[in-house]
Amino acid sequence: MNGMNGLRRYQWLMGILLVALFLTGCETGHDFVKKTEFKDADKIVVIFAGPVDNAWATDVSNFSVYEEPDPDIRLNIKEAALGPDKTTLTLNFEAPLNQGEAHILSTTNIVSEGQDLGAATLTVKKLYFGILMTIFLGAALIQNFVFTKYLGLCVFFGTSQKRSTAIGMGIVFTTVMVFAGMMAWALYQFVLKPYQLTYLNIVVFIGLVSLSVQGVDTILRKVNPALFKAFGVYLVLVIANCIAIAVPLMLADNEYNAWESLMLALGAGLGFMLALFLMACVRERLELAKIPPSFRGLPIAFVTAGLFALAFLGFSGLSIY
């Protein structure tokens, strides 16, 4: 009951956070334009508040589009098509769009039922929340670190024998990962990159992971001895896990910002926990199964993991946003 109350206290905070994230993607820049969005890989859809002139809308030379960071590179529009209700304009591009970047769409004066409504400069971007969710789901399911990237296997096979161990390891790993990921992001963006010290990435990141492990160890030992007794043994194993060093390297390679880094670290941690839990469920039953003697133990665990890897291939086409 106590836990529920604690959760409720933070609900309003979560609500505000979600609304803020949604709002960042919803402003368009012109009163007459209701909505702009990406469609498929190479289309931008603009929805107007009222019908627009067909001749104006289907003339490609009325529009010019560029990615926000490079205003000099205009993207080639193949075709502009107006929907039957005359409010939905679809721009077809020659090449697929880089939808991670915001695109700026500027038009000549919009013509609607003979009226001139002035020129518009519109921003087209994916909902930021969508990008974050994509990174999160990508790290947890689609590009699961264990089953599709083959990382962290030593610790994975070592701690997936029992469900309780699997959950303990998963929780500890996620916590340390979030700490270390955020510190790595800050150090990379504010120290290593500005001073051209990216060649120190590996040294600094592995140091950070060890530091977070040591820090969590010291604090947990005092603050919650019971929790430390349950989870303390897994802390050392975090350093020996490839994923712990792969996440900081990835967020540096991809130049993620703070929120994206957080989502990557969280997704990696939860994805690892999911993999551990699934594997532990199967391995508990394998204990009772009749397995050829030479396959007992690790070999059959590898084959099981292979089956999981094939199952996780099914996530490869998944995209929600």
Binding site: L200, V203, L211, G215, T218, R221, V223, P225
Partner: protein, 53 residues
């Protein structure tokens, strides 16, 4: 050698030293603040058990 390279190398040394010092002091303070007295009983038990795995 190119002075730019020397600058980058020395910068790396200085940065690593600073980071190490900063986090070292941080960890030392944390260890001091969250110090736990080792339980003498645990030591005793471990001592009698030593060698028996």
């Amino acid at each position: 050698m190119d002075p730019v390279l020397i600058k980058i190398a020395l910068g790396g040394v200085a940065t690593l030293a600073c980071i190490g010092l900063f986090f070292g002091i941080g960890l030392a303070m944390a260890a001091h603040k969250f110090h736990v007295e080792p339980d003498p009983k645990v030591e005793e038990v471990l001592h009698t058990l030593a060698g028996a795995q």
